[in-house]
Structures are given as structure tokens and as C-alpha cells.
Subunit: 185 residues, 2 copies
């Protein structure tokens, strides 16, 4: 959780705001909009996430996957910073052409995520990016999609982890980087 | 339409693919996924779009607005390149807290876009980014949202313009930059 990016922790502390009762009564939503609107804050977050795409031996991932929709905002600049390509994981019905599909559980019912079959080539190393790690269901679905393409998830990086939901338990064997950990509701 | 970014036109020519009959029979969808997955292609596109955020006198916009969802992928890196903040325009119900709302017409029925009321301050100069300019309804709604905040739309920049749909007619008085113009269905 320690960050090598100067000022990152201060930006995260100052620019994530609590919005009570969203999306429903009793839930406190962690809104990253002020962080995204702050150039220095966004730069620091991108640098922090991009660090997760470089292995100890200096190997850089080939692709950065962003999960719709807030994951797109972070993953595209991370891909550019790393010299990698950007690949979207989207909700069902949005991607034209041949896709892999994975269903995952939501609080009520289930949803389907898709990835283009040709978006990731066999053996490519992939960094999966989202804004929040909650129960881990979405990221686990993204992992499964990458693996259906023959890719290898080299790491997962999120801006915030809701640690009290134990999302890492849904991601066995994966390296997960969270720039900020929220330990209580 | 001329581009000062080396290699941009070649990337656009090579990396946008036609997918027939998506999202419905008879429509040819212009899929930018191969472009996003190509680091050099994405870099060139971001540079091309970012140029629209700098006025002739060198003034740079304060904020870059990205329209959900593909607009996010392009707008966030453009904001970083320009030293500006990133602001999302989202579909109804996604943004927590106080928002402005604008309804706009779709082919069947209408949809609502939202923008945080505090996302753009009075007098700030804004670049609006989306992947495609079609009829112009979405971008016109985004313009209206920016103006409700007291902001000024300094420009609109899109990757592709479906010129045969005459979207610029919905954006009177605005400077519109399209990296690629599609002149026929």
C-alpha cells in the first residue's frame, strides 16, 4: 500500500469525497470526481497505478485492460504511460464483433462482461485496472476474460479497495495494488 | 481536418475497422478498438485531440470533458497532456451529489446526461471530447451542461465525424475538430 509517488497520499486524502446515501440510503459513496478534476491528483494516481504494470525485472505489460466505465478513465492514461495498448472490458452488447463473455454476480441477479476475442494475444501480459475493488466479482470476471484470450494477468491495480468486503479472496494468486484502502464502512 | 501529428492519418486509416450489421442490420459500425489497443495509434490520437485544447494565443483549456463511455478513454489522457482536469459527463443516475441534467433525443425516445454542478467553475474554458460526432445531440447536451455551470466550451474534438449526419449543425458557434471524417455510410 506504500506509494512511491510524491504527494499521492495527500491527493487521495483530500480529493475523494464521501457522498452519503448514494446509490441508496445507508451507503456512503466514495466519489473520485474531485480527484479526476485535479490535474496533479490525476497525474499522481496514474503514476501510482502504472507502477503496478512493471515487474521487478523491469518487464512491462503488453496491454492495460480498463473495466467500464470509470476504469476507462484510469486505464487509458496508464496504458499510454507504460507504452502499452488499451483494451476495454465492457458491459454486454457494447462491443461489435466476436467477443468472449463472462457472467458475474451482482447484489441482485447477475451481469455479463465482454472482451474482444482478438484484443489480447496468447501469452501477452496484462494489467487490469478499475477504480474500486469491492467484492472482487467484476475484476475476477475481467481476469477470466483475459485468460480466455490466452493472456496472463500480471497484476490488478485499483484506486481504492473497500478492504472490509475482502475482494482479494476472489482473486487468488493475483498481485493486487490498491492506492488507498478503506477499512470500514 | 489536416493533422499536424506525424503518422496520425495512417493510424486512423489502418486501425479503425468496419463491423457490418452492428448494432443492428444494415448499419456498419466503425470500431476503434484496434486503434486503442495500439500504443502508437492511441498516442497519436491523443496528441491530435489535445491540439484542439490550445488556442491560437497559446491559452490552454482548464477542463476536459469526456462523454460516457468511450469519450472517457480519450478525454482522460488529453486532460493529462494539456495539464487540465478531467470531468465526466455521465448517463443519468451515475453521478453522486448535485448535478445538472439535460435531456436529448435519441433515435427512439430520449436520454438524460448529467454533470456535477461543481465540476466546472464560472468562466472556465472547456474542451469537450467524444469518440464520434454523429447527429450532434450528445455533444450539444454536453455543451448545455457546461454552460449551466457557467463554463465556456472552447472547442469540441472527436476522433471521427459521420459527416453525412451533419452533426455540426447542432453545434452553432462551436469550433469542432474531427481527426477523421466519414463522408458516406
Amino acid at each position: 500500500m506504500a506509494s512511491p509517488v510524491p504527494g499521492l497520499d495527500e491527493h487521495l486524502e483530500r480529493l475523494i469525497r464521501d457522498v452519503p446515501d448514494f446509490p441508496k440510503p445507508g451507503v456512503v459513496f466514495k466519489d473520485i470526481s474531485p480527484l479526476l478534476a485535479d490535474h496533479d491528483g490525476l497525474s499522481a494516481v496514474v503514476a501510482g497505478l502504472a507502477a503496478a504494470g512493471v515487474a521487478d525485472d523491469g518487464t512491462v505489460v503488453d496491454k492495460v485492460v480498463g473495466i467500464e466505465a470509470r476504469g476507462f478513465i484510469l486505464a487509458a492514461p496508464v496504458a499510454l504511460e507504460l507504452g502499452a495498448g488499451f483494451v476495454p472490458v465492457r458491459k454486454a452488447g457494447k462491443l461489435p464483433g466476436l467477443t468472449h463473455q463472462v457472467a458475474y454476480e451482482l447484489e441482485y441477479g447477475e451481469a455479463v462482461l465482454e472482451l474482444h476475442q482478438d484484443a489480447i494475444h496468447a501469452g501477452e501480459r496484462v494489467l487490469v485496472i478499475d477504480d474500486v475493488l469491492a467484492t472482487g466479482g467484476t475484476v475476477a470476471a475481467a481476469r477470466s476474460l483475459v485468460e480466455k484470450c490466452g493472456g496472463v494477468v500480471a497484476g490488478v491495480a485499483v484506486l481504492m479497495e473497500l478492504a472490509f468486503l475482502h475482494g482479494r479472496a476472489a482473486l487468488p494468486g493475483l498481485s493486487v495494488t490498491a492506492l488507498r484502502s478503506i477499512t470500514a464502512t
